[in-house]
Amino acid sequence: MSFPWAEHYAPKHPFMRWMDEKLPLPRLVYNAVGAGYPVPRNLNYFWNFGVLAGAALGIQILTGIILAMHYAANAGVAFDSVEHIMRDVNSGWLLRYAHANGASFFFIVVYLHIFRGLFYGSYKAPREMVWLLGVVIFLLMMATAFMGYVLPWGQMSFWGAQVITGFFSAIPVVGEPIRVWLLGGFAPDNAALNRFFSLHYLLPFVIAAVIVLHIWALHIPGSNNPTGVEVKGPQDTVPFHPYYTAKDGFGLGVFLLCFSLLLFFAPNALGHPDNYIPANPLSTPAHIVPEWYFWPFYAILRAFTVNFLWVPAKLWGVVAMFAAIALLFFLPWIDRSPVRSANYRPMYKWFFWVLVADVILLGFIGKSPAEEPYVRIGQFAAAYYFAHFLIILPIISRIERPLALPNSITESVLHGEAEEAAPLGQQA
């Protein structure tokens, strides 16, 4: 365990003692998310999103397993089997809408979780491994979400599969054979649909396994906190249970409320109407747009319109899109500032918010048609995205002068509450 003052698991009931000897699973849970895990006492609501992401994965796995009982992964009947779920299966509409919107909510909470990490420097030593595993989870999520979107076999499913597998054909020489191998044909069809279904069922369990590693790696240094100052002693922490279980319980309630509002009252708001048209290999929809959570990356893909340095535009786009995520793997070594929290980094804080605005702008461009002025705006926004991570961060981590850090978490907590604290101080 990370901190010597962590509470020790001491089962009282004879059965729990017997269990602890034979299979110390309760002990593991106690130390992972129970009273045995000391957590900084000053975490704000942005620290709820890790648990919420776990809850979202739980919803997806549960509803997904059930949908698979009714879904048929065959190009001839896949579309109708989804409508069979919507119309005939008991509560089928609820399960399918929960799964479709659950994917969106999974991405919403994960994006907030990622940006929290960026703001508070959670990717920095000693938590690099936590961050790296997080990026792996993000990549797996994207693959899972993409393959899941193909399964209803509507127009957007089909053309999404066509476009995304088309990325691989940008690779020189071996690209086209790889694309054909991925699809098991020359265009998306039964073979592709079946393997996407198989992998879509498998990957969530891989994600769950990497989440276990993610949490394991987190427990070695312990959680970061809004000051970015490391825990100094017992007064800086509270046990995870009941303090953060209670806070996460409240967070989960708010999450489920937002989720329910969308699920029950606007279940198709985040979807695309064209996916209610059965897949038609002979007719492409007017605007092919991915799901909203891919818009920023789609904008980066489309921003590269010119062959440059002997590299064709298409390859630039594909490489840049993957690089936009892959660069996150190097972030702990790109940003060398010793200060974690942006609250004490006046320059970084400013650029952080510009990045947030830039990613939102990229999202808007990814959704818009490929016309002016959107293309130029997208090129500017994509350039800024790369500049932020690869040029601006290395520079500001050298020239920035951080603000004075608090001596400890406890000091920062009580700072500004000196008046309230005074009577107690006098008592002591």
């Binding site: 549960l62 059930i66 009982m69 009714h70 005939d88 008991n90 509560s91 089928g92």
Partner: protein
């Protein structure tokens, strides 16, 4: 720092007896509500396995029996299960009525297993009551067993001309589904 640590401890003034109780009550209420919610969520997750609306819509079928000659039988499908519809001959009816129901394993008379005035129409599920095989005897030339009705080849159950179990391991007569004659020649099953 010692002075600061004191803030971790409850202020004694706040911990009245009623205060503690009120707090416990809210925590218990919150957990109970969450538990009740989780239980409620189980319902759709379990209910989805029940037959869906399109399956239930097929729960009732209509069969035209005008083409079944006396002594013949047909096999049709109801709820994805075989149904035997048999037009009994006068001899078969007589054979069935000659048996003392009290002597049977699953006592029933032919009249109880058919509709009044339509005693020649024997309509049963084609599912052996032993372990669910489909008995022979509905198709032309198939063995009808020792009692001239149906014979299940899986474990050797013999049914008589009223489809009652007479010999072999099956515990019950072939099941008679709910049906009615919608007209003289149309049977509505289910």
């Amino acid at each position: 720092m010692a002075t600061l640590e004191h803030t971790d401890e409850p202020n004694p003034a706040e911990v009245g007896e009623s205060g503690v109780r009120r707090r416990d009550f809210i925590n218990i209420a919150a957990v109970s509500f969450a538990g009740a919610g989780a239980v409620a969520v189980v319902f759709p997750l379990v209910n989805q396995m029940n037959p869906s609306a399109d399956v239930l819509a097929l729960a009732s079928i209509e069969v035209d029996v005008s083409k079944i000659a006396e002594g013949q039988a047909i096999k049709t499908s109801w709820r994805k299960q075989p149904v035997f519809i048999r037009n009994l001959t006068a001899k078969e009816i007589a054979e069935a009525n000659a048996v003392d129901p009290a002597s049977l394993r699953d006592p029933a008379t032919l009249a109880e297993r058919t509709k009044e005035g339509k005693q020649n129409w024997l309509i049963t599920l084609g599912v052996c009551t032993h372990l669910g095989c489909v008995p022979l005897g509905a198709g032309e030339g198939e063995p009808r067993g020792d009692f001239g009705g149906y014979f299940c080849p899986c474990h050797g159950s013999h049914y008589d001309t009223a489809a009652r179990i007479r010999k072999g391991p099956a515990p019950l007569n072939l099941h008679v589904p709910d049906y009615k004659f919608a007209s003289d020649t149309v049977v509505q099953i289910g």
